[in-house]
Symmetry: C2
Subunit: 140 residues, 2 copies
DNA sequence: ACACTATTGAAAATGATTTTCAATATCAAA
DNA sequence: TTTGATATTGAAAATCATTTTCAATAGTGT
């Protein structure tokens, strides 16, 4: 849960470690909800004032390419990113505060086999996302 | 599978029936794959030359509001729309030609109960989407 | 046929993202 | 260390998708 591994990953893939990248990584890695580029910009600039929005975009692009983060699709928009889950995982999003949780253990084999047979498709992949209210937000 | 019911719906909801709307409805209603606004514009202009792109946006907005169409989220982007499924349905998308099929019969109750208990969330909704190759595209 | 007003397309405005570019900072090699 | 090749930077401009504004026009009920 620290930024180090991400920085190492970047470095190992031939990217230089800069203050701008460190600031972006720290914010995104530590977030409990999906953040849009501007949000990352606003938060990261508290750590590194000179940061430019363009660099945020460029850094997010690289983190996504290295599968360290993933884009989150929501009814309100699809610009936000969260740190990626490990292995086969899906997202559970709080509709009130935006908090993100990962889960696995979905077994869609029977369903996909059935749909494949019915439609003639060869099914390669699936997206599953749950929406609800987190424990905290249920109180209010 | 004709445009009439959609036009009726529009009319019943107090919207006027215009040539522009008819052209957009005919294209979207008859499509077998999700179309982005510009694609609708290009196709619909073959039926109604004077159509403006702005009107396409405005008409799609109304169709979505009436639940006649729905936005489709894909790895390449989230701008496209398809005619909406009836009741509780999910999408199956061909990764090659973009063809869209609907399916139902997913039973996620056990999963959502399990996740709800594990995370403390109250789960309200889910998004499920399958990706693969349609029968035609499998040949190639 | 009329009158009210919703709808239209064009142009301008907005918002998100990408490209361009000259200045600067990183890092491997000396 | 210092150095030098070059990856990275932020700002400004460009691009792309979408929305707003507005005056002209077309649909609808009477």
């Amino acid at each position: 849960m620290t930024a180090e591994p991400w920085l190492t990953q970047l470095h190992e893939n031939g990217y230089r470690l800069t203050d701008a990248r460190r600031a972006v990584v720290e914010i995104v890695e530590g977030a409990t909800r999906a953040l849009a580029p501007v949000e990352v910009y606003d938060l990261a600039r508290k750590k590194y004032r000179a940061l430019g929005l363009v660099t945020v975009y460029r850094t997010l692009e690289k983190l996504e390419e290295l599968h360290l983060i993933q884009r989150v699709h929501q009814p309100q928009g699809c610009q936000a990113f969260v740190s990626a889950g490990h292995g086969h995982q899906h997202l559970l999003l709080c509709q009130s505060c935006g908090r993100v949780e990962f889960f696995d253990g979905d077994d869609l084999d029977a369903l996909t086999r059935f749909i494949a047979q019915k439609t003639g498709y060869q099914i390669n992949e699936h997206w599953l996302q749950l929406f609800g209210l987190c424990a905290d937000c249920r109180q209010n």
